[in-house]
Amino acid sequence: MGSTIIVNDLRKHYGQVHAVDGVSFSVEEGEFFGILGPNGAGKTTTLEIVEGLRQADSGTVEVLGERPWPRNHKLLTRIGVQLQATSFFERLTAREQIRTFASLYGTAPKKADEMLATVGLEDKADTPAEKLSGGQAQRLSIACALVHDPDIVFLDEPSAALDPQARRNLWDLLRRLNEGGRTVVLTTHYMDEAESLCDRVAIMDQGRILESGPPAALVRGLDAVTRISLETGTISVAKAAELASPDDVIDDDGVSLTIATRTPAVVLTALAERRLLTGLQVRGATLEDVFLNLTGREYRA
């Protein structure tokens, strides 16, 4: 199956800032692709070049076999975009907003109303967009991006400003979309979001893609430690050192004692035999560790 999006050696700079500095990736049809990275990594710039909103300094982009820049009408009906900053018509209610967008694509008003319900905004249908809360506006913006059933959906930090419940609902919605065969590309700050939703993620920092692949593979490929923590006082640091392997790191911050180990099974068995499991927590590697490993910096979303 062909790639829906092919990006090759994309570059874009603003003055001295290399916002996008040689980015290449491709997205398969029906894939759920995530771009993960801290503020200023270049996610929005990359995404907007792919959508055809900004012109790259160099490099090529192909979406559904077409070039998005300059404005390409063949693509416009087939992509749905939620921009990072919400954008609405002035003084129109939520229902009027989405119906207006729907009609731009020749979509029936009924479909627009359904979409509004899907994102849980029926009771806000008559509220002017300016008076929606941040999360409600975000949901409306996503609904407007999806209303015309696009083949590819681009979402720039869709879960920003959403409460945990709305975030879960959004995840469900996006999974359903993706299962229906649509290609979804999103950017996010949240490692857990990327791990939970994406078939593949690209980890981006300072305009470059540091690593990309399925989240599980990235985590597995990492020579990462497992952190086992116990309530302080359950076991002394010296005792813990005895039952751990020589190169494990033990740390006690006064609340919990943490053993960072590459042989979690051995340590856990030893602890269980001694019935020293008070407050036990085991945390495997996450994308956060991948990021830390790649950049040497803590992830600061």
Partner: protein
């Protein structure tokens, strides 16, 4: 609904729900109309007062019968008396030199003007019937040459200004806020042509201008203001449409240059307000210095104004406004091309 229709709808709702836009395009100019038209014309004369300058023996003889029709006021200053007539404080000025009577009348109030001329014709006829060889003559002359009564002048002028301001502000503000609020960016990703976006805005502006016109003319025609529309007044409609296009283009240029909605409003104000003064929208240019009258020709508003006054109140034929219509459109075309050149989808 097509993209064009739904964008027009979105813009119209956006406008109608914007209290300050409604105020500035409709209520504010109406306040001026009430001020100019109401305050300055309210001072009507009850009895027809005629100013007699110097000795007018014929009138003295007829004074007895005239008492209840005309009120005679004596004066020695012809210029001052004529001014009084122009302002509408008196109906006419009469002078007599030898056998020749001269009557300067104001055409502002047509009924009074006719009455006073009739009365004087009668006086002269009577005087002549006494002395057998007819010797007295009566010459009548309109005191205002071709100037007009306040409401007649103020209505087309203020209407032109209101339309210029509404179109320029509307276009500038929509463009800038749509750009700043990134709605233009978002529309760029939707399958709509620039033509639909601009076309929708044009349609909405023209509709607003025609609403402004309807409200203006209804208010000015109330008996209190007493606007009398000339036969070819409908020619004001194409003039207004042309003016809307031209001033939208000006607003688009302002919106293209401005970084914020406030700046866009400021720039359009800076252009339209001085232009309104210099084009004679508020005060007639008839008595302005010659250089100013010449200068005023470089402003599209002057031509819009001129065309509107000609067809709405001066009673000129519809065709006489065609040159002005052409000039306004030519301005619009040139400014429109500039606007297209500096159009930006977003501020990035």
């Amino acid at each position: 609904m097509t993209a064009f229709q739904s964008l027009s709808r979105a813009m119209l709702f956006g406008y109608l729900r914007d209290k300050s836009a409604l105020f500035f395009s409709i209520l504010f100019p109406l306040m001026f109309l009430v001020l100019f038209g109401g305050v300055f014309t309210g001072s009507g004369v009850s009895k027809s007062q005629v100013v007699q300058v110097g000795a007018v023996p014929v009138l003295d003889r007829a004074a007895g019968e005239l008492g209840d029709v005309l009120e005679i006021k004596k004066s020695n200053d012809l210029a001052a008396a004529q001014d009084e007539v122009k302002k509408g404080d008196s109906v006419a000025v009469v002078t007599q030199q030898g056998d020749a009577l001269r009557l300067y009348f104001s055409a502002a109030d047509q009924v009074r003007a006719a009455t006073v001329q009739g009365v004087f014709r009668q006086i002269v006829t009577q005087a002549n019937s006494v002395g057998v060889p007819q010797k007295y003559t009566l010459a009548t002359q309109q005191a205002e040459d071709d100037s007009l009564e306040v409401i007649q002048y103020v209505t087309p002028g203020l209407l032109s200004w209101a339309i210029a301001m509404g179109a320029a502000f509307g276009a500038a503000a929509t463009l800038v806020t749509w750009r700043e609020k990134r709605i233009l960016r978002r529309l760029r990703l939707a399958p709509v042509g620039t033509g639909s976006i601009v076309g929708a805005r044009v349609l909405v502006s023209v509709v607003i201008a025609l609403i402004q016109m309807a409200i203006f003319l209804s208010v000015a025609s109330l008996p209190f203001f007493g606007l009398q529309l000339a036969d070819a007044w409908w020619m004001a409609i194409p003039l207004i449409i042309a003016g809307t296009l031209t001033f939208m283009a000006i607003g688009m240029v302002a919106g293209g240059l401005a970084k914020s909605a406030e700046a866009a409003a400021g720039i359009s104000n800076l252009i339209v307000l001085p232009m309104a003064f210099l084009s004679g929208s508020f005060i007639p240019l008839d008595s302005a210095p010659g250089w100013l009258q010449t200068l005023s020709n470089v402003f599209p508003l002057k031509h819009l104004n001129q065309g509107m006054v000609d067809v709405m109140v001066r009673g000129q034929g519809a065709l006489t406004a065609l040159p002005e219509l052409g000039i306004v459109l030519a301005f619009g075309l040139v400014i429109g091309l500039i606007a297209v050149k500096i159009f930006r989808w977003d501020s990035i």
